[in-house]
Amino acid sequence: MAIVIQPYRPEHESAVQDFNRRLQKSSGDPNLVFSQSAVPRWLPPVGNSPVWNEFYVAVDASPGEKPSVRGTYALTQQMIFIRGKGLERIACYHHPLSEGIVDRKYASVGVLLARDALARQPLLYALGMGGADTPIAKMLKALGFTLSAIPFYFRVMHPAKFLREMHALRKARGRRMLMDIAAATGLGWIAIRSAQAAASVRAGRPNAGPDFAVDEIATFSDWADELWTQAKETVSFAAVRDANTLRILYPEHTATTRRLRVSHEGAAIGWTVVGIRRKDAKFGEMRVGSVVDCWASPKNMLSVVRAAVRALEKDGVDLIVSNQNHQAWRGAFEQAGFLKGPSTFVFAASRKLSEMLQPLETNQPLFHITRADGDGLPANF
């Protein structure tokens, strides 16, 4: 066996399909699948796009045998703003898949993939990963990555349905019974609404705040550039969210997400992208809305969160979720009645990137990271 990692080209597509079949057959996990197309459907590398995906495959080219793909990974190349340093090209490492998951003979492939990615782009991060205890997170930690969980927030819109359908909380029989009783008697409604109100009070709920208007927009234009420029110095790390990049991330034809412009007296004060999440067993039959992305100066963040809640409420969602890292956004979500839950959404920064982000103690709470970063958009919708 001689594993060579190389860019994914059309001639590898049939070998990737075979790789997908082997992984799915042995693991029984339909999510263990890499792109069947060598050209990324999401963020293809076209023209002078500021953000694009690159795919790589680990090809096993043993002499005399048909080459097989034993591993895959993707890099999202993008411009990141780092306060004090300006714009840096940084990559997100995602979709690493190794045949070692199902065949120990290929245990080395995971190492080769991660090291190859680091060799191509030392300024690397990964996001999500399902928690800090997963093999990929452990591997990145061993390679010197700094890991931190991106806080998870939720707001229950329909308590009775939440109590009946939140399968992730209903695994124990005793708790399931209690949740059913709470749903039937209305006690759950009181408890959840009280907890959300208490969270809001603890966060220092302001008065009604400035009036704001919300408009659903087809696309982002110059006003988004102004907002990006106004607010970027309030973050220490953020993927560029200027109008050009936003038009690529949230193209006009996207049906899964809605783009909302939030304004005060006609002037844009922020924007948010919201969507309805795809079905997920842990949420049962609930309609789950997500505040996918957002941007504003700190003084306008609460208005943006309220705008997102209002839009999703109109969509009839039972639950709204969001991942937010920046301390001012966390405060705004809490003020809007969101509760903090356990997070499995982990940010991992390579050693070189971590060095650039020092001192982490003061800079980390100012990273603007949301569910839209990394490969979050296609993964969740």
Partner: protein, 88 residues
């Protein structure tokens, strides 16, 4: 011979490092031990083995060399070869 192809002391050191990483008694690890025979030798522990060997012997393993680490015997032989050929 269990450690054929590698220096005995190098094999012993690799075996000791592997024992710590895989949580398996030294006596249970032979030159033929591989991911197929050691339950805890998964992709994460493979990386930990690579990193531990690089640190202990002060060398850098290339992708091709990592790919050659199929058993503890081949791993020890690889390290031995690198120690003999690489300036330290």
């Amino acid at each position: 011979m269990a450690n054929e192809g590698s220096d005995l002391s190098t094999f012993d050191e690799v075996q000791g490092i592997a024992s710590d990483i895989f949580g398996v008694a030294v006596a249970k690890l032979t030159a033929d031990s591989s991911p197929d025979t050691v339950d805890t030798w998964d992709s994460v522990q493979h990386l930990n083995l690579v990193l531990a060997l690089e640190e202990r012997f002060g060398l850098q393993l290339s992708p091709e060399e990592i790919d050659q680490m199929k058993t503890l015997g081949t791993t020890a032989a690889l390290i031995q070869t690198k120690l003999q050929t690489s300036p330290r």
